[in-house]
């Protein structure tokens, strides 16, 4: 799929400032981003604004993107790995309407990729920025709901509780039962929620050449993983971190190493597996032709 295939080009709406936010707000957010980059994995509180999209639908990612995007950027927006899911379309249209920047579906062409729940299969390059939409930035929240308490746990690097959770998984199921939003240690210091990406994507965060920014609008937090930073998925020495893998290839492009979505094809239990990353899948198919 190319953007040129898309219907109705979106026109720049002159009623709004470039990228919607006013310049003071952008500056405030960029300051928070700078702080986040300086302290990898640390959640920086910021004055999150009410955006014209609902909380929980990517307002954090949108504010981060809006603060860093310039007229020469090339933007790609994905949701669940795909460029054409409704929420991705909606966010892309929002930026087209407020910036008129070039948009793309090709991972390699993009300078900024805003994502919900996936990291593209195509390895990212230096100079690219991956902006994650984050619903719940606090990795400890499910174990300890009080922010006053989790803040001091981060401050003192007291993360034993997180391992208690993993211990319980192994004791009950024989293996760690967290499959997405799998907690990571950033640069050996801060415990971080990678947002609800599948744990399949976790290894891509480690020593990534691209800048990774995380925006949580409703919870009003920004955090970051600078390029070439160690990102380690929590595990035990004798129960190492594992990623999912499928025994069959993508039914469309034949890839055996990408994250596959299960598609139900009939009401008799029929199903097929296809790449969740639509750009990756298409690129492989067109290369074959």
């Amino acid at each position: 799929m190319n953007v040129s295939d898309l219907p109705a080009p979106v026109e720049r709406d002159a009623n709004f400032n470039f990228a919607y936010l006013d310049e003071r707000t952008k500056r405030m957010i960029r300051r928070a981003i700078l702080k986040a980059v300086s302290i990898p994995g640390y959640q920086v509180p910021f004055g999150s604004r009410e955006m014209p999209l609902p909380y929980g639908w990517g307002t954090g990612g949108i504010q981060v993107t809006a603060s860093i995007i310039g007229p020469s950027d090339v933007l790609k927006v994905i949701d669940q790995g795909a460029d054409d899911t409704v929420n991705a379309v909606n966010i892309r249209r929002f930026f087209q309407r407020t910036t008129a920047v070039e948009v793309t579906t090709r991972t390699t062409d993009a300078t900024i990729i805003q994502t919900r729940h996936r990291i593209p299969e195509t390895p990212l390059a230096a100079g690219q920025v991956l902006v994650y939409q984050v619903p719940l930035p606090e990795p400890l929240q499910k174990l300890e709901p009080r922010e006053v308490e989790t803040r001091s746990m981060h401050g003192l690097a007291e993360y034993g509780l997180m391992h208690v959770k993993l211990y319980e998984d192994i004791a009950r199921f024989g293996h760690i039962a967290t499959t997405y939003d799998y907690p990571v240690m950033v640069d050996g210091r801060y415990l971080m929620a990678p947002s609800p990406i599948p744990k399949f994507d976790n290894p891509k965060m480690h020593m990534c050449p691209a800048l990774q920014l995380f925006g949580a609008g409703r919870e009003k937090r920004i955090y970051a993983v600078p390029p070439w930073t160690k990102v380690e998925s929590l595990a035990f020495d004798d129960h190492p971190f594992e990623v999912q893998r499928w025994s069959q290839p993508c039914a469309m492009c034949g890839d055996t190493g990408s994250f596959l979505d299960e598609v139900i094809t009939d009401d008799a239990g029929g199903r097929m597996f296809v790449c969740s990353d639509t750009d990756h899948c298409l690129a492989r198919r067109t290369a074959d032709e």
């Binding site: 401050g155 211990y167 004791a171 035990f236 020495d237 129960h239």
Partner: protein, 260 residues
Amino acid sequence: MSEDTQPILRVEGIVKHYGSRVAVDGVSFELWAGEVLAIVGESGSGKTTLLNAVAARARPDGGRVSFLTRHEGVVDVHAMSEAQRRLLARTDWGYVHQDAVQGLRMNVSAGANVGERLMALGERHYGRIRNEAASWLERVEMDVTRIDDTPATFSGGMRQRLQIARNLVTRPRLVFMDEPTSGLDVSVQAKLLDLLRSLTRGLSLAAIVVTHDLAVARLLAHRMVVMKDGRVVETGLTDQVLDDPQHPYTQLLVSSVLQP
């Protein structure tokens, strides 16, 4: 300086107010390695307030608590950073609550309850954590097959044993206990006291036990401190104090319970 030449804990002039009421009024004592000290008194005498101030769970309004650490000599407990204090509290110290619910994670398994301190200290080998947890369950005379059960399914006595195991797994040198056996049936109490006695002796653990029960003091403690209205009225070797009380208040306390 070693543990032979100076006390492991030195408490000097602890004062704690609640509003205009003085809960603890200038209490001092020392504790030596491997020694068990009982603080006895009626409810309202200030003994639990004192324990919390000594164990750095609450900041006293006056006085000082010094602890002889393993590697860094004597430290002023209330002058430490929060990070240091928390580290101390989960390594070299233990705290056994009267109500086990406060000292346990009720919704995680017994194994994880015991293993938590190890994980907090960086142990990352599941098998080792589990083995260590199992061996501690054994040492507190619990059924090891219940390692994956949560404390919610345990009896009061079992919970208290689990709480003790959870504290001892890092081999602390000092354990604080707040009425560790009250609220349990008499027969359960007796067994738990036996266990505590053999553990403190076997591990040469120093302990401060707050209790209103003189029988607990007699069974566990080498020395005792008698408190009334926030002050120490008598102190001495346990047998000495109980058999030949000097202060009228102690005499009253002793005479009000049946002698063994």
